[in-house]
């Protein structure tokens, strides 16, 4: 007798055949058939989170550190809409995510049925594509297509919505296999090398003439696994490298060339290097407003070569002299072939002088620890070699400034979306993807409360995440802006009425410590070296600001370097 399978089985079998090993989800009425079949799929490790938003962020963190697709699963209606922030976060940072949602039965579509929502419509602007499956036979082809869309070209999230009756329907296993083996109709965007503006001879002339070149390495370099090629080109052409926030890790920061993050809270020396550069090679980045400030004055002294895989990024935010559409990997290979061994000693010496004059060094406060002291200590204790996840806010910028990244895929943060609440579930996802590595989460006392329920999932999964709360009793970044730009009119930023995070950790069954002074660093070090999750509640100076800072919309000439922190509170 012919073996029949359900649509729900087909969903899971397709994922398995695509190489998916882990997925993050939360059950509900419209996905009960999938959870029923999941019972018999021991090869698929399902991580039961405590909120669907956590599933999406965990899948995102998983994808960022592993380079594989992240998969999340939720029920219809509120389950599906709870994924939305996570999907948008992945879209903004080009993270491959496959979101699978259950939907009400086909006969109920459009009838405002219980837990019905148009999740395909809702997610249209924040996905690469979204599918509503209308026939059981479409399951293997469309999930495979969704996978291909998410992982090809400029990566991103894809949603597949599956009505409950289609999950329950049956069709022959043979039919499933035949459809799965067929190629999808998807034609990925051409990744062939193309000059959108400029020419090879113009490129060669710019490279030859440049005396003060700088390379901006963005997330595209990390995504393309092009770090080795980057280092080859950098040494060959003798060019300093600055990073966008999400490009951190593409080049070691302890060497001759890596200058760290640029932009609003980037280093002075990195921003000065861009200000005085005569040639900027921008690879796998999109001239985001947090990088450029005022785009009209940004790189006003430089000729620009822009290399990116996405044609739609060309001249979107900043017009380049030469625009090349290709991946970071191919682009860097091409650049190596187009340049002869060069030397820019004088220029690099100038940058080193700036680095000595305006170093990024941990600040001190008279009464409390500062965030930079804690991050600096964590960086040294982990040999600059941990996977670092951040939430969003001041601590995010401090982590980017003070952790000495040396490897790609070791820094995860919500860059484009700036999603508070991202950190904890993303750290969970990272720990599932890399169970043998140390995962540090830097999170504020505001952000941790947005997805704090995932502490339970950390415990459940025995995920070795060090949850380092930089607790200043404020929504720090908003407070900083209110101090600097609204005459210190602090409005709805005071979090001095916080819960006791240590008691909360106890409630979730997690080890926890409090770090208030350098005397606590011995316990802090033990916690960082332990092999289980620990919540580390760091009480830090309340009103420290993140500096340097280029105020929004201004240029590097208006950079506020900052000084000693005069602690009032």
């Amino acid at each position: 007798m012919e073996k029949m399978i359900t649509g729900a089985y087909a969903v899971l079998e397709t994922l398995k055949r695509l190489g998916v090993k882990d997925l993050f989800g939360y059950p509900g009425g419209a996905v009960i058939p999938i959870y029923n079949e999941l019972y018999d799929f021991p090869d698929l490790n399902h991580v039961f989170v405590r909120h669907e938003q956590g599933a999406a962020h965990a899948a995102d963190g998983y994808a960022r550190v592993s380079g594989e697709i992240g998969v999340c699963l939720a029920t219809s209606g509120p389950g599906a809409t709870n994924l939305v922030t996570g999907i948008m976060t992945a879209q903004m940072d080009s993270i491959p995510l496959l979101a699978i949602t259950g939907q009400v039965g086909s006969h109920l579509l459009g009838k405002d049925a219980f837990q019905e929502t148009d999740i395909v419509g809702i997610t249209m602007p924040i996905t690469k594509h979204s599918f509503l499956i209308t026939q059981i036979e479409e399951i293997p082809r469309l999930i495979k297509t969704a996978y291909e869309i998410a992982m090809s070209g400029r990566k991103g999230p894809v949603l597949v919505d599956i009505p409950r009756d289609i999950q329950l329907a049956q069709f022959p296993l043979k039919t499933f296999e035949a459809i799965f083996e067929c190629e999808t109709k998807y034609n990925p965007p051409q990744e062939k090398f193309e000059y959108l503006s400029g020419s090879e001879s113009e490129l060669q002339a710019l490279l030859k003439k440049a005396q003060r070149p700088v390379l901006i390495a963005g997330a595209g370099v990390v995504c393309a696994n092009a770090q080795a090629l980057l280092q080859t080109f950098v040494a060959h052409y003798d060019i300093p490298v600055v990073n966008t926030l999400l490009g951190l890790g593409s080049i070691p920061l302890d060497g001759k060339y890596g200058l760290g993050m640029i932009g609003m809270h980037g280093s002075v020396y990195g921003n000065f290097a861009l200000r005085d550069a005569d040639l900027v090679i921008a690879i796998g980045m999109r001239f985001d407003d947090r990088v450029t400030g005022n785009p009209d004055t940004f790189l006003k002294n430089a000729r620009i070569i822009h290399i990116d895989i996405d044609r739609a990024e060309m001249n979107k935010n900043k017009r380049a002299d030469i625009s090349i559409i290709t991946s970071a990997k191919e682009g860097l290979t091409y650049l190596v072939n187009q340049t002869s061994k060069s030397s820019h000693t004088q220029w690099i010496d100038q940058i080193q002088t700036w680095k000595r004059t305006y170093p990024l060094q941990p600040t001190q406060a008279p009464k409390h620890l500062t965030a930079s002291q804690i991050i600096h200590f964590a960086s040294r204790t982990t040999n600059d070699d941990a996977i670092v996840i951040t939430d969003v806010g001041q601590h995010q910028m401090w982590a980017a400034q003070y952790y000495q990244f040396k490897k790609p895929r070791t820094f995860c943060s919500s860059g484009g979306a700036g999603t508070m609440g991202y950190g904890l579930p993303a750290a969970l996802g990272a720990a599932i993807a890399k169970p043998d590595e140390t995962v540090l989460l830097f999170v504020g006392d505001g952000g941790i409360q947005m997805t704090i329920q995932e502490l339970m999932t950390l415990k459940q999964e025995k995920a070795n995440v060090k949850v380092i709360i930089l607790n200043n009793g404020f929504l720090g970044m908003v407070r900083q802006w209110q101090e600097l730009f609204n005459h210190k009119r602090y409005s709805s930023v005071d979090l001095s009425l916080n819960p006791d995070f240590n008691i909360l950790a106890d409630g979730y069954g997690l080890k926890n410590i409090t770090v208030k002074s350098e005397a606590d660093f011995i316990e802090f070090e033990k916690a960082l070296r332990s092999d289980e999750a620990v919540l580390i509640n760091c009480i830090i100076a309340r009103e420290e600001n993140v500096f340097p800072m280029i105020p929004a919309g201004l240029s590097v000439d208006e950079i506020v370097i900052g000084g000693e922190y005069d602690e009032k509170l």
Partner: protein, 79 residues
């Protein structure tokens, strides 16, 4: 600002038109006209969108339409 006709050839599925039009809506751009016809001897549908926008905006929007899953090709005519 100039007026253009953007011709988009699409492999039409549920949501294709919404996806394309949302690229204008998110920028607060109102279309001046919209037509849609079957292409002879082709499985695709041609959409003709009339729009009054800046040239820079036009380039970016066209590239963003181009990268959509359902889009086959995009071309632009000045009016």
């Amino acid at each position: 600002m100039k007026s253009y006709k953007i011709k988009v050839l699409v492999d039409s599925h549920a949501g294709t038109v919404a996806r394309i039009l949302s690229l204008f809506a998110r920028r607060g751009i109102s279309l001046e006209s919209i037509n849609s016809v079957d292409e002879h001897d082709s499985p695709y549908i041609a959409m003709l969108l009339g729009v009054n926008i800046e040239e820079d905006q036009l380039d970016v929007i066209c590239h963003q339409i181009e990268r959509l899953y359902d889009t086959v090709s995009v071309s632009v005519e000045n009016i």
